[in-house]
Amino acid sequence: MNILWLQSAGCGGCTMSTLCAESPNVLDLLDGAGISFLWHPSLSIETGAEVRKLLQQVESGEQPLDVLCVEGSIVRGPNGTGKFHILAGTGRSMLDWVQSLAQRANYVVAVGTCATYGGVTSSGENPTDAVGVQYEGSHRGGALPADFTSAGGMPVINIAGCPTHPDWVTETLLLLAAGELTEQSLDGFGRPKFYADHLVHHACPKNEFYEYKASATKLSEIGCMMEHLGCVGTQAVGDCNIRSWNGEGSCTRAGYPCINCTAPEFEEPGHKFTETPKFAGIPVGLPSDMPKAWFMALASLSKAATPHRIGVNATSDRITVPPSLKGPKE
């Protein structure tokens, strides 16, 4: 399976993250699955004229293309021209290139939340009129139309995340190469279900604090960050705490909130990223699939039942009260 990878209006961080794949390293991992790059901007030897020739060959159909990976959002400005990003050396906008090459690809994969939904590049006043490859925020229809399907019969495959986890990228590509990824493998926003059917909350080390709503009041405290610090791990899709990042990491493990970076429009939460919006002192956002009345009832009950250990630790920057030990068996 061959891949043409283009970097559009993003930060390149999803490539950099993918290079962190381990066991085996990303080069051996893809090679072992028979996956090769026709061209990748950070990895390939070819540059300049050699790349222009390749792009022409793909566009004309002379060079078959299995997968077009697009990293970064697609800018449509100024005034619909796409000229805020001309692909170097070609005189043509990336918008134009992506629209054209997508017609030749068997599958189109958007890598990262910029490419999937617009992401941070589309934040604020969205100065460049940035969109995702097939979505504009949560609305279907981006640089490619809402009803686009590639030659392989799939809509754009959205590996959302800011950045994406290295395994989300490599495993999606491996599934594609094995012929095991179908439209049924994707959730309602086009994300592979193998990671999008989990919540960041799953396996979060703060789960015991969450159970009692024992909350951190400021960054660096180890309690649950849902009540005060903007954490939306109970609503955000991703297996971040199940598989962990860069060894044993994750956002919540490092003491800062999940900001839902796998979701459309995460870049504009409508409040500060590290502050929970509240109505009458109660957090506005509730855990996914949780009836509000039950949440309120359980939260007040569990809060009242918070053990001393958990209450003290929640507002400490490390465990200060250890779990009690059981005495010897009689």
Partner: protein, 476 residues
């Protein structure tokens, strides 16, 4: 006399999108024009947001210098608040930041720079087969080892920063996770593993031996590891005379803390060290698709010229210090810090000098981090409470892998009213200014040899990549 013009792009194995236009006469580059062809407008995206949002937004300017952007934003906010981070939190931030810089240097050498020596142009050279074995793009043994060593080094960021890139762990008050004694031991093990990679593969010798090299003569005697192979190639191809810069270097000072810096701040010109004055920075817009006047970044603006006027040729502004062009990066840092080998390389200012500057910095940074880790005391607090005022103004100056990075922020009634960023490659790949003076890489390309029939000259590739440009940071 034959004259022609070449358009080089897409210029890959650099971070982001780069296009270079070359005027060529009689087989030599006579003029070069560096175009950063992507504008995203982060400085505008930040307007109207709460100042703290910069901690989430600005790392996403760049997926390779993400922690540098975090560090600059955190320092700018602390400066505006008149606050100091916790001294222990500052050490954690330094550790995170330096790990990113180390990883970036390794990535550059192995993945971006060295593969060019495996091109068929060089078939038949005494070193060619060894270069192919080590540095063939995506396949060479050197690349594989580097990718694995880098991924394992980033476990330090996973542990303390949650993930890489785009951590939110660095805050104006310090760092969000207090490392335990066990974490410290684990980080020490990760650093040891990285040292083993450096000494076995990259240097082929103790790091301390490379740091002891004091002159260019000493370099000639270095034969081990990938460094030895690079030096052999360099001698053969004359990389010590290719891509020579202007001899003016700038460093904001790397890893500032209450205890000082690890690599000091300053400028280097006319062969000697000078003081850096942050008030002397300006950004010239004459050849950028930007509207407005030359300004200090404190009062600068980012208004893209959507008509893309003909006199301009890049989205990149042209930063100048007291009106002069400056080169920034690892070589600049090591020269300004006074390492004798770097000082000896200052006048050379070549492709080789930039690569050696980076290698020297890898060795010195690894050693510095091992010492820094010992200073981390898990019993202390790693975060001070910092209250960001409703109105304020500040700046944060740090050193990214590629050089001097500055953030200048102003906010009123809790909303950002101005945010200006000058990234390292904004300096190095700046377009011409109003006087017509080219930016550093534009000047360094003049004189580069272009062989008959070359559309993407190999010499130009060596020179451009020797700067390790980060184009996504450049315009942001």
């Amino acid at each position: 006399m034959t004259q022609k013009s070449l358009l080089v792009g897409p210029f890959n194995r650099v971070e982001g999108d780069l296009e270079i236009k070359l005027d060529v006469s009689d087989g030599r580059v006579t003029a070069a024009y560096a175009n950063s062809p992507l504008f995203r407008g982060f400085e505008r995206i930040l307007l109207g947001k709460a100042p703290t949002e910069a901690l989430t937004i600005t790392p996403r300017i760049c997926g390779i210098c993400s922690i540098s952007q975090s560090a600059a934003a955190a320092r700018a906010l602390a400066h505006a608040a008149g606050a100091q981070p916790s001294s222990q939190g500052e050490k954690v931030a330094t550790l995170l930041h330096a790990v990113e810089n180390l990883a970036d240097h390794i990535t550059h050498f192995n993945l971006f720079f060295m593969p060019d020596f495996t091109r068929p142009n060089y078939e038949g050279q005494a070193w060619f087969d060894r270069a192919v074995a080590r540095f063939t793009a995506m396949k060479g043994s050197g690349l594989r080892q580097a990718v694995e060593a880098r991924a394992e080094l980033f476990h330090i960021v996973g542990l303390l920063g949650g993930k890489w890139p785009h951590t939110l762990a660095i805050q104006p008050g310090g760092a969000t996770r207090a490392p335990s004694q066990r974490d410290k031991i684990r980080i020490g093990a990760d650093l040891n593993a990285f040292r083993r990679y450096l000494e076995t593969d990259l240097f082929g010798a103790k790091l301390e031996c490379f740091v002891e090299v004091k002159s260019r003569d000493g370099l000639d005697a270095w034969t081990t590891g990938d460094v030895g192979l690079f030096l052999e190639i360099s001698r053969d191809l004359g990389l010590d005379q290719l891509g020579v810069g202007q001899g003016r270097y700038l460093s904001f000072g790397a890893y500032p803390s209450a205890d000082g810096v690890i690599f000091r701040q300053g400028i280097w010109q006319d062969g000697k060290l000078g003081m850096f004055d942050p008030a002397a920075i300006t950004e010239d817009l004459s050849h950028a698709w930007m509207l407005g006047e030359t300004q200090h970044p404190r009062s600068g603006q980012t208004a893209p010229d959507t008509l893309m006027r003909d006199e301009a040729y890049s989205w990149c502004k042209a930063p100048r210090l007291s009106g002069d062009v400056f080169e920034t990066g690892a070589l600049a840092r090591q020269i300004i810090d006074g390492h004798p080998l770097a000082v000896d390389l200052a006048k050379e200012g070549s492709v080789r000098a930039r690569i050696i500057g980076r290698l020297l910095e890898i060795a010195r940074t690894q050693i510095a981090l091992e010492a820094l880790l010992q200073e981390i005391d898990p019993k202390q607090s790693f975060m001070e409470v910092v209250n960001i005022p409703q109105n304020g103004e500040g700046f944060g100056l740090v050193e990214a892998a590629r050089g001097a990075l500055g953030h200048w922020v102003r906010f009123e009634k809790g909303e950002i009213t101005s945010y200006q960023i000058i990234a390292p490659t904004t300096w190095n790949f700046s377009p011409r200014d109003a006087q017509g003076t080219p930016g550093p890489v534009e000047a360094a390309l003049v004189g580069a040899p272009v062989a008959e029939g070359e559309e993407t000259p190999i010499s130009v590739q060596h020179i451009v990549r020797s700067y390790d440009p980060c184009m996504v940071c450049t315009v942001h």
